[in-house]
Symmetry: C2
Subunit: 228 residues, 2 copies
């Protein structure tokens, strides 16, 4: 397999990340590119979920994926195997991406595709429930994954992350019989306490269960965004 494109993204020189994020969001709207920012703890299943998502939606829209990591290109290789445009962003130790870093990634994605337009750009953020929540990337929507083995108390401990996400995927539901202390009812309560507007979708990226519901949410959200 060919090497994937790796971009060493630099930290923002802009003091005002929020302004930069708004600028980027406006430009993406002009270009017709919906940007999804996907966040989670390390090992919650972001890449596997994205593989499944791409399998369902790739016939309907042009999808491209940016994989952020401190080091390694494991995830970008995995995504490139699905045939979609995929690049790796190296953050050089940074624990999150800001709007300026995301912009560099989007430019890399466009270059990778010879300038071909992108309908859905997905940013797989650094695995971390704290720092990524503090920086607006310019995304059209924020999504996060909480996996069953992490426990249903996480919204109590990482309040900001849950409060800024439009949708929370509860992944690894196939492992519920082993993690019998996890209560789907309690996790819903805890999430909605942080964010009453959050959509909650249980999935198993391993078996594919729930992936259609998640793809439907994304489809609807993109359609609404287009006419907004």
């Amino acid at each position: 397999m060919d090497d994937v494109r790796v971009i060493e993204v630099k930290q923002s020189v802009f003091a005002d990340n929020d302004r930069k994020a708004d600028e980027l969001r406006a430009r993406l709207r002009e270009q017709g590119t919906f940007l999804l920012n996907l966040m989670s703890s390390p090992g919650s299943g972001k890449t596997t979920t994205l593989r499944r998502t791409v399998e369902v939606l790739r016939g309907e829209m042009a999808i491209a994926v940016m994989e952020a990591d401190i080091d390694s290109d494991v995830d970008a290789r995995t995504m490139a195997e699905t045939g979609v445009r995929a690049i790796q962003l190296h953050t050089g130790g940074m624990c999150h991406l800001d709007a300026y870093m995301t912009e560099q990634g989007l430019e890399g994605l466009l270059a990778e595709g010879g300038g071909e337009p992108i309908d859905l750009a997905i940013l797989e953020n650094v695995g971390n429930l704290v720092c990524p929540a503090e920086f607006d990337t310019g995304a059209s929507a924020n999504a996060m994954i909480l996996s069953v083995p992490e426990g249903d108390d996480k919204p109590l401990k990482y309040p900001l992350m849950f409060s800024i996400c439009d949708v929370v995927l509860i992944n690894k539901i196939d492992a519920l019989p082993v993690f019998d202390a996890f209560s789907m009812e309690r996790v819903r309560e805890n999430i909605l306490m942080r964010n009453p507007n959050a959509t909650i979708i249980p999935i198993s990226a391993k078996t594919g269960e729930g992936v259609d519901a998640w793809a439907d949410w994304l489809r609807t959200r993109i359609a609404e965004w287009k006419i907004a």
Copy 2:
């Protein structure tokens, strides 16, 4: 149950965290307190592992636990139920603890125990594989937990964390049949690539398997530290 003591720790005013950490380490040596800094992703099982550890070692030494969290006091309550001295540190959104914050926690622990000396102080750091690795807390040893559901590729993605830990506990081995893509051999290779001196101990905090081996490591390490 009584409310647990909650301390709002403030970020360091010291530019030089390394110097502060060395000062704290020297003072802890004088006091005969071994400080263990325990780190992991959110939901890897830090608190459950600590409960097990305390059950094994509490008859042999005076143990006290600091639970760092952005918000909530779930973990400190859980630890207080074991009967050991336990306090909650609120980081106010901070993604890690530094030596100055740790010092404030240790002072709180001493106050909580009416000044009674502590043989083993344990700091449960914020759940995060990135930021806590960058700040020396003044600990006598660094430990981390990687749980099976997170995957065996994490040392490739979070290199600094694995390189600074003296010991890596592989937790949730009871879930290995469900997470059959996880290879114990591969995770060992990946960890030792980052840190050839790391001790690797597979455990299940749920069933108790491997906890004795971990307690032995800690006992030996404390004994060596005392005569060093």
